[in-house]
Symmetry: C4
Subunit: 219 residues, 4 copies
Amino acid sequence: MIATNGGQESGTRRIETFSDGVFAIAITLLIIDIGVPHVGESGSLFVELVHLWPSYLGYVVSFLVIGTVWANHHNRFRLISRSDQYLLFLNTLFLMCVAFIPFPTALLSEYIREDAHRTTAVAVYSGTLAVTGVLIALIWFYAVTNYRLIDRSVDPSLLPAMTRRYVFGMLSFILAFALAFVSPAASLALIVILVLLFVLPEPVGSRHARGTRRRSVGG
Amino acid sequence: MIATNGGQESGTRRIETFSDGVFAIAITLLIIDIGVPHVGESGSLFVELVHLWPSYLGYVVSFLVIGTVWANHHNRFRLISRSDQYLLFLNTLFLMCVAFIPFPTALLSEYIREDAHRTTAVAVYSGTLAVTGVLIALIWFYAVTNYRLIDRSVDPSLLPAMTRRYVFGMLSFILAFALAFVSPAASLALIVILVLLFVLPEPVGSRHARGTRRRSVGG
Amino acid sequence: MIATNGGQESGTRRIETFSDGVFAIAITLLIIDIGVPHVGESGSLFVELVHLWPSYLGYVVSFLVIGTVWANHHNRFRLISRSDQYLLFLNTLFLMCVAFIPFPTALLSEYIREDAHRTTAVAVYSGTLAVTGVLIALIWFYAVTNYRLIDRSVDPSLLPAMTRRYVFGMLSFILAFALAFVSPAASLALIVILVLLFVLPEPVGSRHARGTRRRSVGG
Amino acid sequence: MIATNGGQESGTRRIETFSDGVFAIAITLLIIDIGVPHVGESGSLFVELVHLWPSYLGYVVSFLVIGTVWANHHNRFRLISRSDQYLLFLNTLFLMCVAFIPFPTALLSEYIREDAHRTTAVAVYSGTLAVTGVLIALIWFYAVTNYRLIDRSVDPSLLPAMTRRYVFGMLSFILAFALAFVSPAASLALIVILVLLFVLPEPVGSRHARGTRRRSVGG
């Protein structure tokens, strides 16, 4: 009797639109933390610009992180076809982490060159990503348990592989956080490796709109 | 004779898209009010970061507030299937409040620790939410009166329960505003409770795209 | 032979999405020009906040202006069903004006209290709106001439009334610009009146998704 | 067996939505680099505003650049109907360049008047556009090779003309970068000319939703 505008499809459409907006803004806001350097007539603008390398590094790493997290969110909501109060709430907490990323990025760019503060800056940065990773995993666990919000036509054999992937991702980012206290450089290197790893195809070839029907991947 | 791109569905689609954009930007802009702390070689970045707790508090509360208001707006426009000039105008006033929220949030973060200014800061914050609550209720009252803009297939017995919910929400936020002058802490606590309350399912289980048909809830 | 994703509907869909994004961001960015006032222990935060009234005025007026321009753009693209290079270019110039509005708004808020600079500030503000009005009209003229981009099912008798409305709007904003040099207050008052006027229903009742079919309005 | 929400159409829909968001934000953020000038009672606000001309120039040129790049991206994804991991990654790198543009724009506005730093500022600006142009071309080359991600109903005779256009665009922006070291003014002029050139219709009249069927353009 309730008319849901557009039927089943609207189940997650506006969550996705809203989330896409937050992703797009968080990723684009990264640039406003790179301030134009001030240099006099006798100085070299080129030298000053080179000196800003930690800002570029933070911009590139965080852009890749948010872009990858977006792609993951994007793929996940191709399997999640319904939403409820709790998914909305978990998704809001998750977006709170994503929208927070520009802050630890600015922190990282500011303090990565200072021995006294590098550990703290990298720990806050990797800690933010670890919490984000936990929330991504929670969204998946909540949605997948008993097919609660998953499209019922999804092949069940695919789900354990995806769940393992989420557990792996979550634990890896927690490891990166722990590593920050031992070696900040190693922590950042692990983050970059993880981001590039997640660019690789998922166990499910679900990104191809065609040609994946009935292609079941052994879990 | 007038061609409305895509027929009835476009009745509120672009309002929703535009509103989602404003929500997404307002919620993401909250982060730019948390500035990177400046700390010398001898200071502790960790201590400085802990000292920023009012900024994190403001970020978290306002993020939950805007997220909840968004979810409510989202649910409402699943029942509102048509739009007119006045709905557009009310919605613009409503968005004006939502987009304003980053300002009282920054005010709250700046002055919550100062006894002399805490009451003013909390009153402006809760007052903004009270006005927002009034506008949400006005949009609902305008749309629901005589089924003016409501989807005609919506079960009439559901509407009084929703109207009561809006009146309750509006009065609660007005109470939070009044409470700011007695106890700023109590006012903020009430706001957090209200936000968490609104995370609970609505009287109408309208968020489930499936399985809610014909499930009428006694008003 | 060319596949246009989704056929005729995609003719203007992504222009609308992109424009909605620019509108939503420009309107939400207005808030970042209202800075949190700094006040010592002995000062009054309330007094300082009241002192910011030109910022609130600028925020409210520009929010209504951008909101109204958005609503107009929204209604227009319900009649415009196709796009071409030149529409895209005109729309880009138009969005350039919309995205520019936060700058004259900040200027207005900063200088409205100063006799020496009020005229300049109001002239820049109303001048920006005048140029915006000219571009809105140009988009309409370009689209409507020979039904170039207009949905062919639109009743021809409606178009002259709309064209008159655009010419009226354009001339009114140009008048507001001229008036700034005589009386800045009158110029601002005219802008507010125009914005409220455009909230009134259009000659075409095209915003009602239902009930407007075959209701032809005498031009 | 995998359910992709909405089937083939969703192949690139969310990439487009996300990209549109980044474009819209990057283009609108350009305004926040134009600060309100401070002027005393005795000064002239008009003179100060005129003095800001490099900021307006940067705003207009970058707005046209991002608007044109958006229109190009928009047209491209009408031919690209599928997506995969690598397209997502290339698109993320591409968006990283687009979102970066406000920084070199601010640099250009700040230093275009200073002989000592003009070359560096223009080189960074045109260099950013050159890298963007390379990535646009890479996306096309990746998608078009063996019809990897192109809609199979696209007329094959159109593709070589488009590929030439991308090579031409890419080389032209690289030329603008090289020219910056010889004559910054010539570099900027070339950029403006290129932007206006790309406003001209494409070899494929694919923007017209109607009337272009079977109109094959000789490659």
